[in-house]
Amino acid sequence: MKFNPAELTLKKGDTVTWINNDFTDHDITEEKSKAWKSPVLNQGKRYSRVINFSADYLCSIHVVMKGKLKVK
């Protein structure tokens, strides 16, 4: 269970779309202050977000599943 890629470098204002290709539910939650959180995503569902700041995030259901967004 991993975010792929685990680290993504992007420009401020880029849109990131996560797609759940797993058979279990996941979500995307900003890690440090829970500033943003997706709905629970079933298999095949996707979530998009405009990213303006670097952020570490995780799946709040599977808290060992983590990713990083690096805004250049």
Binding site: M1, K2, D22, F23, T24, D25, V64
Partner: protein
């Protein structure tokens, strides 16, 4: 308390028997999770148990869809029976624990159980499975089991 896989390392299993072991292993962790949801007051344990119940139900769903597609009936066998008999003992132990003792007993068991199931999937079920779709399903659930183990170990460190 965890299942001793190594006593079955030389066992041969047919595909219906592999399917039965896979379903049984998942059903057992759901039972453990249901006990935790009733007995624990710890937020991390409750979150972990909820995840175990949902994920292992999802695996059973995948396995059920596949056996229907392949027209295979899961067949009870010595491995699935041993899993169940060991689980009955573990369930008795967990149910008898006091509120203060339960969280540690539950999470210690989850770490041991997931290690044993990962071993069994890698070293018994996948090698014994003949049908390629069954092999693939078992391979596909390994990352979930490994994430569960990491999560259990993380919670275990926090529970004294």
């Amino acid at each position: 308390m965890a299942f001793d896989f190594y006593s079955f390392s030389q066992t041969t299993l047919s595909d219906p028997e592999v399917a039965a072991v896979a379903v049984t292993a998942n059903q057992i962790d759901i039972k453990y999770a249901e006990i935790a949801k009733k007995k624990s007051k710890n937020a991390e344990i409750l979150n972990f148990a909820e995840t175990m119940a949902k994920d292992h139900n999802a695996v059973i769903g995948q396995a059920s869809d596949l056996v229907k597609k392949l027209k295979v009936t899961p067949k009870d066998n010595a491995v699935s029976q041993k899993l169940n008999s060991d689980a009955e003992q573990t369930i008795k132990v967990l149910n008898a624990k006091s509120v203060n003792e339960f969280d540690k007993a539950y999470i210690d068991n989850e770490v041991a159980y997931h290690k044993a199931v990962i071993d069994a999937v890698k070293n018994l079920l996948i090698p014994e499975a003949e049908n390629l779709e069954l092999k693939d399903l078992l391979s596909n659930i390994l990352p979930a089991l490994e994430a569960h183990l990491q999560h259990a170990e993380m919670v275990q460190k926090k529970i004294k």
